[in-house]
Amino acid sequence: MSAKPRKFKVDRDAVPYKGRYAPYDLVKEGAICLLVVGLLTILLASLFSSPDEHALTIKDWATAQPQDFVATAATELNGTSFVATYGPPYNNVQDNVQKVGPFKLPNILGVTIPIDTAKDFVLLPLASQPGPVALDTALATYKSASPAQQQKWADNYVANATTTDASGNITYNVRVLSDGTVVMPAGNYGPVSTIMQYETQIARSGALDQALITGDGFYTTNYTKPSLFLADGQWFAGVGASENLGGDQWGMMNETGSYPGQAWLWLYTMFYQVPPYNTSWGANADVLVWVTMLVLTAILALVPFIPGLRSIPRWLRIYRLIWRVHYKEHDVAA
């Protein structure tokens, strides 16, 4: 290989080594490393094991905090839940799509995982059940009503199910009795009361989990729908927060229990904890953290070509420690 001569730059170029060579058994080093790493792994696994908390179900949710389940399911029906207003890849609602400057990147590929929360989370699972007459009648009444009427019933239900104060604290007006009966303040809900009653009933029996998982067929490995529904409620977020896994608790890199988790995500997670990402940029924090990380990663990869940055090792002088034996022999006294 030939190369055009160019000016020598100490942080880019290296003087070919013409000094002494010493025996170095790479294969032996590898074998010893394998033994040591293997033993260390066995030691750590034996001492600390690994976390394994069982996955949560919608049945767990509807049993542990049924009023949150009912209130959330109602927002899936009237289209005001987090997922219902998410935007691509789930739907075309634009209100919450994050932006980089004027650009909404999720719109480039658009809706690739279509989710209609009213149909997918409420109406289709209920229709798949061998429902009693009251449920079939309620579903038929709801379907035969105009979209405006459907919306009005569902909006009334959502409005009366909870009260949110100025600080964002939620008070549940809906109550669920120990036998699963849903009790709402009086209002004009049409068939939605019955629909929510049976939605709660199939959730508490575990049938809603099954309907959401097997809705697309017997064999499935895709948990998008039940995961999105579960994550829409306050209960799931509360369980995560109680494990110190919230987004504002460095949760991206943590795992349950006292385990190191994905410690290598510390920089990515850190940006979520500091201004302006968690203040004025909050509405677009996710995409702005990603853009920041992409830029920093590109800089890391291109350090060899960036004057100044590639000089940092020489300024830090840690190399003098690494090669101290070499420099003892080669430093020339002034």
């Binding site: 290989m1 001569p5 160019r6 020598f8 730059k9 100490v10 880019r12 290296a14 003087v15 070919p16 010493a22 170095y24 790479l26 490393c33 394998l34 790493v37 792994t41 066995i42 750590l44 696994a45 600390f48 690994s50 976390p51 394994d52 069982h54 996955a55 949560l56 691509p88 994050q98 999720p106 590929l109 995982i113 499935t220 490995t221 895709n222 948990y223 998008t224 995560g240 896994l245 987004g247 991206m252 795992e255 349950t256 410690a263 290598w264 996710d286 995409v287 990603w290 990663t297 890391l300 060899p304 590639r310 020489r314 190399y319 690494i322 090669w323 034996v325 070499h326 020339v332 006294a333």
Partner: protein
């Protein structure tokens, strides 16, 4: 019909002169020229290769071997096994802790190479493949966390979806699709990672270990043609 001419089997890199234009012979020559065996597995190293920091590249590779072996045992019985079996849980623990050692060693290796400015002397591509390998390792570990089929998987997937969806990446990389994440974790990413590590190691062996920065009072050449050509 005439009998094919009997010739000696190839025993040298050059091969038979009459075969020199064959694709096979050309590739063999190029490979052996680029990656001569004595450089691939040298038994001597420059005297300056005498610090513990040099061990961490090898520790990273050996930790990856333990990760792959324990992952293979988990794969034998499927993704649910380790919830039901004490032995399976122990294998999962070995898998987890070997991953932690892998990342620890890799990060020390990366910082060590940074402090040595190891990209010098036409080694920038070695540095870049190292950074890409680090990124690929993060994706591999991340998809592993999503494949645990427990609360950690549920939580991490529902949290991570917002970041990935905000970039548009969620359109084809659905972190809530367990089957897709498992395939990335046990098929696509390991293949990519092994290829990247292989490429990285070949580059290290081809270029050799970066020489030290100039010593005090050491004169450096004005031009670099010798240093750039390898």
């Amino acid at each position: 019909m005439t009998e094919p001419e009997m010739v000696e089997p190839v025993t040298t890199t050059a091969g038979h002169p009459e075969d020199a234009t064959m694709w096979t012979a050309r590739i063999r020559r190029r490979v052996v020229e680029a990656l001569p065996p004595d450089r691939m597995l040298p038994d001597r190293q420059p005297a300056y290769v005498a610090s513990w920091i040099y061990v961490f590249g090898m520790v990273t590779i050996t930790a990856m071997i333990v990760v792959i072996l324990t992952g293979c045992i988990l794969a034998l019985k499927g993704p649910q096994w380790w919830h039901e079996s004490g032995f399976g849980h122990y294998i999962n623990s070995l898998h987890l802790w070997s991953v932690e050692i892998f990342f620890f060693a890799m990060v020390v290796h990366l910082w060590g190479k940074f402090f040595m400015a190891a990209w010098r002397g036409n080694r920038s591509l070695t540095w870049i493949t190292g950074v890409v390998t680090f990124l690929a390792s993060i994706v591999t570990a991340f998809t592993g966390y999503l494949s645990q089929t427990n609360f950690d998987s549920q939580w991490i997937s529902t949290q991570a979806k917002d970041g990935i969806n905000s970039t548009g990446g969620g359109a084809f990389f659905n972190v809530l699709n367990f089957g897709q994440m498992l395939m990335w974790h046990i098929a696509l990413m390991p293949v990519a990672l092994i290829a990247l590590v292989g490429l990285h190691v070949l580059m290290v062996r081809r270029r050799g270990v970066v020489p030290p920065l100039p010593a005090k009072g050491e004169k450096v050449p004005e031009m670099t043609s010798e240093a750039v050509a390898s």
